[in-house]
Structures are given as structure tokens and as C-alpha cells.
């Protein structure tokens, strides 16, 4: 009996590389996430190997692979590429087949993508040449405050009097944070202010429709962002089971479509 076909989506992001393996029924068989590092090709290969191992399938059985993300052209074993905008749209529509706005918060860029009821892209926007509001902003701030990133959710939830940061710029925001520390503001209130700053940057990019799907590694590790956006918009926020994998799943779905 011929083994079932399998499809890989490889999302080489500026921060992390993600691989998703799907079967022809679009079931997620395995996945892996690694830091992208400096050798994108090697990372993509080792990440694929881990994902296939998780799926209990040998490399030789891979039917088709689509790469996406910042390092999409650095994946040596790819059969084709798609942009991360297309892949996040595809992945989100797979999980939530409806008209929606996709918000992807990545390590170095943000995307706001609007889809119609058939999953077609109506418009998309990426952040300008600026890291404000991206994962890099939160990473920078966690280092400044000497707080592990994973602790920031709970700290923000403990806030009673959020500090609102006024600056667009990551560097100036850091100065504002130091200024607030000096003035005796509580760390949870500052951390909540940092999350609010991220949400503000996103909401400046485009208007949102009634249903919003949030994806990306920053959302995966900072679910408080989802709660905060929900509070601001009055609900209608959806998150896929593995938000960090959405782009890779989308790429894998493109691989499957191209094979059929």
C-alpha cells in the first residue's frame, strides 16, 4: 500500500522557524518550532526533520513543500514559495472559515489582512519600517525591565492603574518606561501599558471587522494581548489552536492544493 501523501509548510520567520506537516485530509500530523538563528537553511532542515519525526514519517515521503516567511527563499528543499501574508490568510481561513480580519503579530513585523467570506484577500497592511508594536518591542522591553517574557502576561493581569506610553518609537518608549520606574510606577502597570502600546500600533494600521483572528508567536506567548483587544473591541476575537503555526499550516495547505 502506498503511504499517504504528506505536505509541509515551512515558515522561516525573522525570529522563529515553524514547520507544519499535514495529511491530505488537512490534519496536522506534526510540527516543530525553532529559533531561526543565522543559518536559515540549516534551521529549516532540522525543523523539518523534527516535525516529520513528530509525524512519524521519514523525510523521503514528503510529497510537496511550500516555504514562507522572511527566509522563504532560503529553504533548499522547497517546491515553491508564498508570502507570509498569503499563508496566514490561508491558515486562518482553514480554522475559521468566515469573513474576518487577521492580525498577525510577528517577531519583526505585524500584518493586518482582511478576508471575505470565501477566504479571498480584500486588503492587507504591514507595519512600516519600524519595530514598534512587534515582538521585538516586547523582547526589548522585557530585557530593559529584566522580566522574563513568559511572566509578562500575569504581571499585566495584576495591573490596577495602567501606565499609558505615548511614544511611537521603541527606543523612546524604553526611555518612557525608565522615566515611569523612576517616578515609582508599579511594574505590572508598566507591563500592561506595554501590551496596550502593541495593541494601539495594530489598531492604527487598519480598521477591524467584527470578527478578528489573531495569530503569530507573540500572541501564542502573550495571550493577554487577545484579552486586551477583546476588551477594546467588545469581543469577536478568535485564536487558532496553535497560533504560532498558522503561517506554516497555510503554507502546507498551499502545498496540498498545488498537488491536487
Amino acid at each position: 500500500m502506498m503511504p499517504t501523501k504528506i505536505y509541509a509548510g515551512v515558515d522561516v520567520g525573522a525570529s522563529h522557524t515553524k514547520v507544519a506537516i499535514l495529511d491530505p485530509e488537512k490534519r496536522l500530523l506534526g510540527s516543530a518550532v525553532r529559533k531561526s538563528g543565522t543559518d536559515f537553511s540549516l534551521t529549516a532542515e532540522t525543523c523539518l526533520a523534527s516535525a516529520l519525526e513528530a509525524a512519524c514519517r521519514p523525510v523521503g515521503e514528503l510529497t510537496r513543500c511550500i516555504s514562507t516567511g522572511y527566509g522563504r527563499k532560503n529553504v533548499p528543499f522547497r517546491d515553491g514559495t508564498k508570502t507570509e501574508i498569503g499563508c496566514h490568510a490561508k491558515g486562518c481561513y482553514h480554522y475559521f472559515p468566515m469573513e474576518m480580519t487577521v492580525i498577525d503579530i510577528g517577531g519583526q513585523d505585524n500584518k493586518v489582512i482582511k478576508l471575505d467570506g470565501q477566504g479571498r484577500r480584500l486588503s492587507f497592511k504591514m507595519n512600516r519600517k519600524c519595530a514598534a508594536g512587534t515582538g521585538a518591542f516586547l523582547e526589548e522591553m522585557s530585557q530593559r525591565l529584566d522580566i522574563p517574557l513568559e511572566n509578562m502576561n500575569n504581571l499585566a493581569r495584576a495591573s490596577t492603574d495602567m501606565v499609558e506610553l505615548g511614544s511611537y518609537c521603541t527606543v523612546f518608549s524604553a526611555t518612557e518606561v525608565l522615566e515611569n520606574i523612576r517616578r515609582g510606577k508599579k511594574v505590572p502597570d508598566i507591563v500592561k501599558g506595554l501590551f496596550y502600546s502593541v495593541i494601539k500600533r495594530i489598531m492604527e494600521m487598519d480598521s477591524l471587522t467584527s470578527k478578528v483572528v489573531m495569530t503569530g508567536g507573540v500572541v501564542a506567548h502573550n495571550l493577554y494581548l487577545v484579552e486586551m483587544l477583546g476588551e477594546i473591541t467588545g469581543g469577536g476575537i478568535f485564536v487558532p489552536e496553535f497560533p504560532q503555526l498558522t503561517g506554516a499550516v497555510g503554507a502546507s495547505l498551499f502545498a496540498l492544493e498545488e498537488d491536487s
Partner: protein
């Protein structure tokens, strides 16, 4: 790996003549600058060049030099020198790179033509129809060379053009004459002036025909080709050489159309470029669009050297009208309507807006126009962030991804 494609640009036979025209332009200017054989006027891109020619000046266009600084990718390293003199990185990067170039004594004219520096002006003549920056730009050189700065102050945000506006501009141009006579030591010669306006008019007609050839499917050329071939329309405005050049180019374009030669092999999508070129990335962008089988068929930028109203029979009045009709000085509703006409004429599938960080007057995405046009025309739009010359404002990877995703979006329609 199936996604790697190589593309080759289809060169124009007229390109050889183009190079000769440009070389002659700069050599003539350089010779006059060194020997004083002729007076030299610096003129803004849509300044009163015909009048200057009519008065016997050789005309040098610093904006053309700015574009050369951008295209040669030397602008970005020169801009900081102007910044250090107090010229903000947020103002026109033609201005800052050009002043930086002068301060550092580094010009692309050296590599291209063996010319040491830009020609020394005898007078600086501006028209603020491009922006206020051109006046400030020339004011720096006026102080540097101790030469007069004169010009025309345009009206802005014009909806319907009114008589008082064109009369005012015509009057301002007429008022330049006594000062120019004094500087050139020549009496104003109306016949020579009319002849220059006549050449400009003919150049404009031919340039329009060249640009409109892109309405053919497939298009015989791209916006990127046109940004190169527009040089004689800029520096040779009001001359016989420009007329001859566009007759030659038009023949070649018409031949391409009649034999279905496509600028972009397998053209699938046709888009419009609104805003300034990213001069330092013309080749890279041209190749990316070609690899995506997408032809950028038309642009506001190249269309801005069409001056339908020029009339040698009424030179001052018609110049005033032609320079007031310009897209750049019109109001938002005129601009929208203009782009809608282009959408229909060029059969566009999408529009790309270039938000040039240092050029607000040529960045028409900033007041909601992309969203309105997308809604009203039912086509996708994309805004890319960048700049005409300052590549510090341009993210290569982000732009490439945006363009690729835009074409993916066009494919989904």
C-alpha cells in the same frame, strides 16, 4: 525549487540616442560653465524652462541631478552632510542629497561623463509647483554662488482652474523678463521664446503618445522604462533634440505594439504606480515585477511631463495654464478622478502607492485615497513605504514581500 525565475529587460534601440542626448546636454553645460561661453540658468523641473531658452540660457535641472544621485545609489551616503548643515532628514531627499553632493564634491556626472562638478549657475529660477523645498534648495545655492534667486509662486489644491490663477502665473513669468535680460545681457526675443514653447508642445504631444502606447495589451514598455526615457523631456524641454528623440521612441513603441512585443513576458497583471520612483531600486523593482508577470504600465510621475495646453501663439498664458494644470497642484478630488481615468484607459488591475518619506507632495496615500479608490474601482491597492533617494527609509525585504503578496492578491480575483 520552481519559484526562481530570471528575467531580461528588453532594451530599446533608441537608448543609444538617449545616451548621446544626455551626454551632449552635460558636456555643453560643462563647457559653458568652465569657459563662460553661455549663461547658465538652473531651473526646477516644471519651472519656466521655455522662457529661459528663449532668452539664450542653457538650462540645468537640479532635480535631474537629484534623480541621478538616487539612481547611482550615492544619495544615501551624501544626505547626512546636508543634515549636518541643518537641512532635516525629513525634507526633500533630492535637496539633501544634492547639497550633500556639492559639499562633498562628489557627483555621478564624473563617472558617467568625466565631468568634475555641476555647472556654475548665473541665475536660479524656481517654480513652487513641485513644492516649497525647491525654493529652499535653490536658496542654498544662491547664497553659495552669490547669484540671484527668482521664481514663480504657484497656486495649490486647485479644483477648477480659474482665470485669476493663470493670469497671476503668467504675470509672474512676465515679471521675470527684465531681470533675466539684465543677467543674460540679451534682449528678450519673442520669436525664440515662441519657438521653445512650440518644441515643448510637440515634445509633450509625442511624450503623451509614448506613454499612451502602454494601453496596448501587452504593454510595450513599463513605468521603469519610462522613468529612464523621460530624461530628454525633462532636460531637453523646449529643444528640437527632444522632439526628434520622441519621434524616434514613439516609432519603436508603435512597432512593438504592432508586433505584440511585451515589455513583461507573459503579462498577466497591469498596475499603476502613484508617487515618486524609488530611484535606487528601479532595476530590482523592475525585475521583481517582471518575474511576477506584472507590468507597471503607467504612472502619475511620468504623466507629469505632459503639457497639453502649451501654445506658441500665447506663450505666457499657455505656460501658465499648462503649469497650473499639473496633477501635483490639484486638489484631492481632481487627483482621484485623474487616476480613475487612468484606470479605465490603461485597463488597470491594481494601484501601487509609494509613500515617499521625504516627499509629501508626491505621496498621495496620506489622506485616505488608496482606500477610497480601492472601494470605488473595486481593485486592490498597495502602499509601500520608501523614498525617492533616501534608502534608509526603504526596507528591501518588506517591500518585496508586500509586492509579492499584492500580486498573490491579484491572482485571487
Amino acid at each position: 525549487m520552481t519559484d526562481k525565475e530570471t528575467v531580461s529587460r528588453k532594451e530599446f534601440k533608441a537608448g543609444k540616442t538617449l545616451k548621446e542626448i544626455m551626454a551632449n546636454h552635460f558636456y555643453e553645460m560643462d563647457e559653458a560653465s568652465r569657459t563662460g561661453s553661455k549663461k547658465i540658468a538652473w531651473c526646477t523641473s516644471v519651472g519656466p524652462a521655455e522662457l529661459l531658452r528663449g532668452m539664450g540660457f542653457l538650462v540645468f535641472f537640479p532635480e535631474n541631478h537629484g534623480a541621478m544621485l538616487g539612481a547611482s545609489r550615492t544619495a544615501t551616503e551624501l544626505i547626512p552632510y546636508a543634515n549636518a548643515l541643518g537641512y532635516s532628514p525629513d525634507i526633500c531627499s533630492y535637496l539633501t542629497s544634492d547639497i550633500g553632493s556639492y559639499v562633498r564634491k562628489k557627483t555621478p556626472l564624473t563617472r558617467a561623463y568625466g565631468i568634475e562638478s555641476v555647472p556654475r549657475p548665473d541665475v536660479l529660477v524656481f517654480n513652487t509647483n513641485q513644492c516649497r523645498d525647491v525654493q529652499d534648495w535653490f536658496a542654498w545655492y544662491s547664497r553659495e554662488f552669490n547669484v540671484p534667486l527668482i521664481g514663480v509662486h504657484t497656486h495649490r489644491d486647485i479644483s477648477e482652474i480659474r482665470d485669476y490663477q493663470t493670469k497671476d502665473i503668467a504675470r509672474q513669468m512676465e515679471d521675470l523678463v527684465p531681470r533675466l535680460e539684465q543677467l543674460s545681457n540679451e534682449k528678450f526675443d519673442m520669436d525664440r521664446f515662441k519657438e521653445a514653447v512650440g518644441y515643448s508642445r510637440r515634445t509633450s504631444e509625442l511624450w503623451r503618445a509614448c506613454l499612451e502606447s502602454a494601453a496596448a495589451i501587452p504593454s510595450p514598455w513599463t513605468f521603469f522604462d519610462a522613468t529612464i526615457h523621460m530624461a530628454p523631456a525633462v532636460v531637453g524641454r523646449g529643444t528640437r533634440e527632444a522632439v526628434d528623440y520622441y519621434e524616434l521612441l514613439l516609432d519603436e513603441l508603435q512597432e512593438r505594439v504592432s508586433t505584440c512585443i511585451a515589455a513583461v513576458e507573459g503579462e498577466k497583471h497591469r498596475v499603476y504606480w502613484e508617487g515618486m520612483p524609488v530611484w535606487g531600486k528601479l532595476k530590482a523593482l523592475s525585475e521583481q515585477f517582471a518575474s511576477l508577470k506584472t507590468c507597471v504600465v503607467a504612472s502619475t510621475y511620468c504623466n507629469s511631463w505632459i503639457f497639453d495646453q502649451l501654445d506658441p501663439g500665447a506663450p505666457f498664458e499657455s505656460m501658465a495654464l499648462a503649469y497650473t494644470e499639473l496633477f501635483i497642484v490639484r486638489d484631492e478630488s481632481y487627483k482621484e478622478s485623474y487616476i480613475k481615468d487612468c484606470h479605465k484607459f490603461f485597463k488597470l488591475d491594481g494601484i501601487i502607492f509609494h509613500d515617499a518619506k521625504t516627499c509629501p507632495n508626491n505621496s498621495n496615500n496620506r489622506y485616505g485615497m488608496p482606500e477610497r479608490l480601492s472601494r470605488e474601482l473595486g481593485i486592490p491597492v498597495l502602499t509601500i513605504n520608501g523614498d525617492l533617494n533616501d534608502l534608509r527609509c526603504y526596507s528591501e525585504e518588506q517591500t518585496r514581500t508586500n509586492i509579492e503578496a499584492f500580486v498573490e492578491q491579484l491572482e485571487e480575483i
